[in-house]
Symmetry: C2
Subunit: 338 residues, 2 copies
């Protein structure tokens, strides 16, 4: 009707690279590189070099599924300049968790890539746990004596897989006790690992504890003395395993530090009541952010550390950008016309 | 290394439908249908049926390009239930404006589609202008006498094209005067339209005025009497053409209404200083939202109406979902593995 403009007025010569879950799985950098990448993002968020708005949870009408829009902008300096983007992630309530990360280098003619987000999120989460474990290694008697460590992993989903791999790198030789609703054959057991009979059985004596159950898991009682003083807990399931009341009890027993990836995100999520309420026992504010502690000295005494990181998209973005660079080099992915 | 899980642990059977700009151009519903769709979203946002968080502008380090993450969730009722998603849109400073809209029907195994956003945004913006024109038709002497209307379009980009088409539908027979930096051959002139020699020449006597210049256009003086009392102004370029000082002068002259798509978004953008500052003259708060006025009576006297809509993703989402349905029916697009 209005013939003045051809249909292709919006089409430009370049294309957008799409990477599926299988592509991402084939391109993920080593776990050591993943940790290095997210450490950079964590440091830049703390320094204000990165722009990390709080994630936006969408109101889906009261059902169990969630959907989060997670924008961020980072600066890779000589390694790539500014990178802006957003993660879309949804699922829960029985539906698989998945989505995409949109990646753009501003000024370079629009989106660079669209990267499947499930495997990436599982890797990113474990890498941030690795960064947390590096700045807050366990200070149990055994750890301080230089003995072989032991670990507990609560939950048996994809995060158990990626976290087991991170522990293998950062605490080589540590044996892990798993507690989950899954069968042993479904768990990423390494030689020496075991399946525990209860959550207390798994945790007791562990120097490193990963809690990674589904967000809608019913609360379970945990005995205070199942958590060894000086243990480092990598808490990636909000308050589903470790309640605010348990944090308060730990703090009443001895020195406790709460560490997170982004204090702004942590406070936003606390304010939304998703880390427990005054009624059920709420998590306290964080004492420090991982990015502040990188390169600093570990505490000298016995301190039980809870690393509760909620996930920030600056970390997703730095990984997605690196995966896109690898995809370009190897010619992996689907090129989409704009 | 961890052999317990196959690589395809994240891959599900369904795929994601990607629609390029060319696909979208071939699938856009008629302008009348576009207006009906965005009216539904505008009404639902006002009623709180839709969830419309403010858009998140990303800090790209002080350059001219912008990037916005724009999440929303709408409810189509029997026509499709809940739809959640987010638009990513970037450009400016010489770079083309583009991006994608992510569309999901929660609980239905993740993303339904990824829809190119440039043509969609141009259509959506004009459709919202159409909804604004319907609730706020001009009340000039000529309009109230039932005479043939005249229009002005300031700016000659993609929005000029889509807005000319909306005017053709809603004010058939109206002749338009264009003012832009482009040559006449680049403008979507219809028979009877003309190219004006100045912004005042274009606006003078117009019953309907569209202002759609690039956001970074240098301010231009506009004579107060170039705007006919009772005209309806469709302002889609923030404060680039119509300054807050001009709004104040119009208000001092006679009755003025300011209407927007979302008061929350309008106030958020005002607070960010993007609708002028106290120093340069800031836009006032809106008097009403389009969705509140739908189906109501038009004003009886002469009221100059400024419809300044900033763009909300609920409107993008309702259009993108309809385009995806059309794409499924016609088998258009690229199916991406998850």
């Amino acid at each position: 009707m209005l013939g003045a403009r051809p249909k292709d007025q919006f089409v430009t010569a370049t294309s957008i690279r799409y990477l599926s879950e299988a592509d991402v799985a084939s391109l993920l950098p080593s776990i050591g590189e993943q940790i290095t990448l997210v450490e950079r993002a964590l440091r830049d968020v703390v320094r204000g070099v990165a722009h990390q708005p709080p994630k936006v949870p969408l109101d889906l009408g009261g059902g169990a599924p969630f959907a989060h829009a997670m924008p961020a902008a980072i600066d890779l300096g000589d390694a790539g300049g500014r990178v802006a983007g957003a993660k879309w992630i949804s699922g829960g309530g029985g539906a698989p968790i998945g989505g995409v990360v949109l990646v753009e280098r501003p000024g370079a003619s629009g989106l660079r890539g669209i990267v499947a987000a499930a495997a990436l999120t599982a890797a990113r989460t474990a890498a941030v746990s690795g960064a947390g474990l590096r700045v807050a290694p366990p200070t149990t008697d055994r750890a301080r004596a230089g003995g072989a460590l032991s670990a507990a992993i609560i939950g048996g989903g994809v995060q158990a897989v990626t976290h087991r791999a991170v522990l293998q790198l950062l605490a080589p030789g540590a044996q892990a006790a798993f507690y989950s609703r899954r069968a042993a054959s479904e768990l990423p057991l390494l030689p020496g690992d075991r399946v525990a009979s209860s959550i207390d059985d798994a945790m007791r004596g562990a120097d490193i504890i990963v809690t990674a159950v589904a967000f809608d898991t019913a609360p379970r009682e945990i005995a205070l003395d199942s958590i060894t003083p000086g243990a480092t807990l990598l808490v990636i399931d909000y308050a589903a395993t470790i309640s605010g009341a348990l944090v308060a009890a730990l703090r009443a027993r001895g020195a406790v530090r709460v560490i997170t990836d982004s204090a702004a995100q942590f406070d936003s999520t606390r304010a939304a009541g998703k880390l427990g309420s005054a009624l059920t026992g709420a998590w306290p504010a964080a004492d420090a952010q991982i990015g502040e502690l990188l390169g600093g000295a570990a505490p000298s005494g016995t301190v039980t550390t809870l690393v509760n990181h909620l996930g920030i998209s600056a970390c997703d973005l730095v990984l997605a950008d690196a995966i896109l660079t690898a995809a370009e080099e190897r010619g992996v992915g689907t090129l989409l016309p704009r």
